[in-house]
Structure formats: structure tokens, C-alpha cells
């Protein structure tokens, strides 16, 4: 059960992203945290670093499911509350899937860690295929114990 108090900061961005072009997502995160600081919010630095990593990993995963390696249109909403930070993605990439566990691949593996990292970082991760052309992702990270 989440608290119903309004978010301290919300940032919405519509981005064109490609697997090798995630600058827009980095930029949205930087603006988001900058706005949060302007309003006096001081989320723990480690939690902020981890949340940024989770958001970038999801964005990269979305781009990897783009048709023919092309770009995707991505709507990203970042929300900071007193006790948590959330990200919602809506994208038009192909269907994705969530791994069942947060288990890391072997230490010699060069890929396959992205969503396992996200699972280790966040308190909630949801993915849903919406209709035939859209995906919806949701991440929540608690900043204080639930």
C-alpha cells in the first residue's frame, strides 16, 4: 500500500532513443535530480546512483527490442516521493520479457546482466505488453524502509 501524498518532483520526457543513443534518458535523469535538489530533496546518493542505473538498463533493454535495430519512441515519467522514487516507461518497441530471478549470469559472461541488475536494485519491477504495439514498464525504489 503506497502513501497517497503527492510527489515532490515529477519529470516527463518524450524521447527518441536508440540502443547507442541513450543521452536523452541520462539528460532526463539529470534534470529530474536537479529539480529535486532545487526543492530541497536530498535522496541518499547511493539510492540515486542505483536508480539511475536501473532506468538506463531498462531503456537499453527497450531499445534492444526495437524493430530492426531502429529507434523507439519512449515516454518516461520520473517521480520522487518522500519515501520512494519511481519510473514509468511507455514505448513502442517489440515485446520484451522479464527474467524469473535476479540471478546473475556466470562471471565470465559478457552479457545478460541488465535486468538482473535492475531486479537487485528496485523494490518493484513490472512489465506489461499493452495492445499490439506498446510496452509499459514500472520501477519503484524505496528510499526508506517500507
Amino acid at each position: 500500500m503506497q502513501l497517497t501524498s503527492p510527489p515532490v518532483v515529477v519529470r516527463r520526457a518524450q524521447l527518441q532513443a536508440r540502443v547507442d543513443r541513450l543521452e536523452g534518458v541520462h539528460g532526463a535523469l539529470e534534470h529530474f535530480w536537479s529539480n529535486a535538489e532545487d526543492r530541497g530533496a536530498q535522496p541518499p546518493y547511493n539510492a540515486r546512483m542505483q536508480f539511475d542505473l536501473a532506468v538506463i538498463e531498462i531503456a537499453a533493454n527497450i531499445c534492444e527490442h526495437a524493430a530492426h535495430g531502429g529507434g523507439v519512441t519512449l515516454e518516461l515519467e520520473l517521480s520522487l516521493y518522500g519515501d520512494r522514487v519511481e519510473a514509468r516507461f511507455d514505448d513502442d518497441a517489440g515485446p520484451a520479457s522479464l527474467p524469473a530471478t535476479s540471478e546473475m549470469p556466470s562471471q565470465a559472461a559478457e552479457s545478460g546482466r541488465g535486468l538482473a541488475i535492475v531486479r537487485r536494485i528496485v523494490d518493484e519491477l513490472r512489465y506489461e505488453r499493452v495492445g499490439e504495439h506498446h510496452n509499459s514498464w514500472f520501477l519503484r525504489k524505496q528510499l526508506q524502509p517500507e
Binding site: 540502443v19 547507442d20 543513443r21 541513450l22 541520462h26 546518493y45 547511493n46 546512483m49 542505483q50 539511475d52 542505473l53 538506463i56 538498463e57 537499453a60 531499445c63 546473475m104 562471471q107 565470465a108 559472461a109 559478457e110 552479457s111 546482466r113 541488465g114 538482473a116 541488475i117 537487485r120 536494485i121
Partner: protein, 111 residues
């Protein structure tokens, strides 16, 4: 992202990376490591002093480089990891294989 190659001694290469080590940069970084190893410099140090962000693709490049260096009888060590690099290395437990050092000199001198 920029990569500066330094060759401090026979068999050793230091790669100073400037910028994010993410999906965009990963293949260039891995290629630079493999090139150094192929050129007879399997003792590789990757300097992260100017790397503010690493993601899973960047880690993949370092793991690929580590494997190539070890196959050639060398090693790949990390120097100057920032807080974000430390965080992702610990989170993935790759800090056990990608050994970090406070400075490039310490990484080069390590046994």
C-alpha cells in the same frame, strides 16, 4: 567517450577512458583492449578516473577484455573506480574478478 592509450613498459597498456562506459562505448573499449593484447601488451590497466557511469554493457566489455588478457598470459585491472563503478561491480559481484586499485601505478605494480 574518448580512449587514450599509454604504454608505460613492455607488455603493459593503460587505457584512460573519458566519458560513460555504456552501450555506446562498450564495443570501442573492448576493441581497444583486444588491440593492446594483440600488440603484445596483455598487462592491461583500465583507468576509470574520468568515467562517471558504467552499465551492464560496459561491464561486458571489461569482462571480454579480461578474458583476452588472461588468455594471452596477462591480466586486466581497474584503476581509480568512482562510487558508481564500485557500486555496479559490487552489485554484480564482478569485483571478485575485476580487481580494483586506487591508482594506475598501484594497478601496474600489483602481483
Amino acid at each position: 567517450m574518448r580512449i587514450l592509450l599509454e604504454t608505460p613498459s613492455d607488455g603493459a597498456a593503460v587505457l584512460h577512458i573519458h566519458g560513460r562506459l555504456d552501450l555506446t562505448a562498450a564495443s570501442d573499449v573492448k576493441s581497444a583492449i583486444l588491440r593492446a593484447v594483440d600488440n603484445g601488451r596483455p598487462q592491461v590497466v583500465v583507468d576509470l578516473k574520468d568515467v562517471p557511469f558504467i552499465d551492464s554493457s560496459g561491464l561486458g566489455a571489461l569482462i571480454g577484455g579480461l578474458r583476452a588478457a588472461r588468455t594471452a598470459g596477462g591480466d586486466l585491472r581497474i584503476a581509480n573506480p568512482g562510487p558508481q563503478a564500485r557500486m555496479i561491480l559490487e552489485l554484480t559481484t564482478l569485483d571478485r574478478v575485476l580487481v580494483t586499485h586506487e591508482t594506475v601505478e598501484a594497478a601496474l605494480a600489483a602481483d
